[in-house]
Symmetry: C2
Subunit: 318 residues, 2 copies
Amino acid sequence: MYRPEIKVLDCTIRDGGLINDCQFDDKFVRAVYQACSAAGVDYIELGYQADKKFFSPDKYGRPKFCEEDYLRRIIDGIESKSKISTMIDIGRVDLAQIKPKSESVVDMIRVACYVKDVDKAIYHVKACADKGYETTVNIMAISTALMPDLEEGLAQLANSPVKAVYVVDSYGALFSEQIHFLVTKALKYLQPKGIEVGIHTHNNQQLGFANTIEAIRKGANFLDATIFGIGRGPGNCPLELLLSFLKNPQFKLDSILEAIEKEMLPLREKIEWGYIIPYMITGILNQHPRSAIALRAGQDKDKYSQFYRNLLNDIEIS
Amino acid sequence: MYRPEIKVLDCTIRDGGLINDCQFDDKFVRAVYQACSAAGVDYIELGYQADKKFFSPDKYGRPKFCEEDYLRRIIDGIESKSKISTMIDIGRVDLAQIKPKSESVVDMIRVACYVKDVDKAIYHVKACADKGYETTVNIMAISTALMPDLEEGLAQLANSPVKAVYVVDSYGALFSEQIHFLVTKALKYLQPKGIEVGIHTHNNQQLGFANTIEAIRKGANFLDATIFGIGRGPGNCPLELLLSFLKNPQFKLDSILEAIEKEMLPLREKIEWGYIIPYMITGILNQHPRSAIALRAGQDKDKYSQFYRNLLNDIEIS
C-alpha cells in the first residue's frame, strides 16, 4: 500500500506511558526516538503536555509533561527527519504554558477528546494553531458515540484549523465494517476542507493492525502505531507490522526490530501488555477497560470466566 | 454475524500438537473436548490419524494417531453434540487402517495437502468418503500457490465427494484483499456443486481473526480456530474471539474462558505460541516458518534484526 499522503505516527512513549505513569528513563525514550527516526516514521509522539497542577511529578515521569528542556535533551545528537508531537487532554493542560512553535521542538499537538467535548477540543486546536503548531483532534471511544453527535462534531471540526481528525477505537471494540463506516463518514465531512482522517486502534480483539489496514483502504492517511504494540492493556497497532504492510521505501524495519530486541523485551518483563483475556472481554462488550485494569491489579487477575459473568450481570442490571 | 450454514471447528489439540509432538495428556484433551462441547462448537479435531511406520509412538503422543480406543476414552462420559474430526497427511497415513465410519466415533476426516497434491488428496477423500466419513481438503500454503495450479485443483475438487475445501494461510502472509480474492475464487468453482469453502489462518501478522472474519464476509462457512489461539509459532485464530464475533446463540463463551484459565495458562508456561517476532518476519516475507522455529530453538532466539537481515540476504541469493 503506497500513498504519498500517508503519515505514520509512533506513540510508543505517549500511549505506552499509560501503563507505567510515563516512567520511562531518558535512555529508553532516546532509543525509541532514534529507532523511529531511523525507520523513517513521520511523527514521533514523546508524551503529554500535562499540567503539573493535576499530575504530580513525584508520581509521573518526564514524558507526562514534555517540558522543552526535557525534549531537547531527548533528541540531542540523534539524526532525525521525523516531526515531534505531543498530546494534550482537555481540562488537564494549561494552554498558557505552551510556548510558541518558534521556541519549541514540538511540531504537532494532538487534542484527545470524547465526542461530547468537540467544542472544547476546537478551542484547544485554535489556541495551538495560533501558536504555530499543526494540530489533530482524536475522538476517543468512538465506538460509543451516537451518530447525530458524531456528525455534528465532524461538521464543526470541518470548519476548524485542525490538520487531521482521528477515529480512535479506545475500547478495541470495532470490526472492519464499522471502521469502513466511520472513516467514510469522517471523510465525507472533512475531505472537502482538506482535513485528513486518522486511525488509532486498540488491540483487545487482535484487530488493531487489521482495522488500521481497513482504515487505510477507506482513505485514512494518519496512522498511529507503537513499537511491539506497546500500550495499556492489549496495546495498539504494532509499528513493525504497519511499516511492513505500507511497503513505502521511506520506511525501514531494521531499527524497529532492534528496538524490540533491546528495549521492549526487557520492558515487557516488568510491565504487561498484549492479548490478555480480561481486555478481550471488555473489548467484545464495548466497554472501557477500567474493570480489566482493576482485575489485573488484584489476586483474581486470571479468573476470566467469573470476570465475564460479572460484567454480563452488570450490563443486565443497568 | 449469523448464518446457519456456518460451522466452527476447534483444532486446539491437532494444531497445538504441532508444537509439542502431540504430547497432551488425557486430562488436557478431555478438558478441551468438554469445553468445546459445552461451547457448542460444531466439530472438534482431536488429532491426526498418522501411520506409526512414519511416526514413533515413543516420540509422539496419542493424538498423533487417534486410535479408536484412545478416542473413546477421551470422550467417555462427556456430554456433547459436537462432531469429531481428525486430520491425515498425504503419504503419512495408511488408509487401510482407517475403520469404516460405522465402527468409529470420528465423523469427519480432513486431508491436508499442497496445491500440487490435489490429485492425491482427492484419492484420499474418496477412500474416506467410501468408508462413510465427511471429508475436507485443506490446501496449505495457499499464499504461494500459482493461480493456474489453484484453479485446476479447485476444478478437480468440484468433481469430488469432498464436503468442504479450506483456504489455509499456513505462512500467515495474507491480507484481507487476498483472502477476499481466494475465497471468492474457491466459491466460484465449489459453490455450484454444493461444496463449502473453509478458512484456516495463522497469526504471524496478528491477522488470524481478522482474516477469518473477512473470509466469512465473502462466504466461507467452515471456520477453524483454537482455544487461546494455540498453534505452532504465532498460533491460529482464537476460538474465543470467533465465537464472540459470530453471536450465534448456539455458542457459549464461558467454558472456553474457563479452559484458558485452567488449561492454557499453565501450558503456555511450558510451550510458547503467540506474537513472536521471528514468526512475524517469516509471515511478512511469505515464508515457511522453519527458519523461525530453528531460531527459537537456539541461543539467538531474540536476535530479531540479524534474523531479518539473514532472511533478506537468502532471498537475494535465490
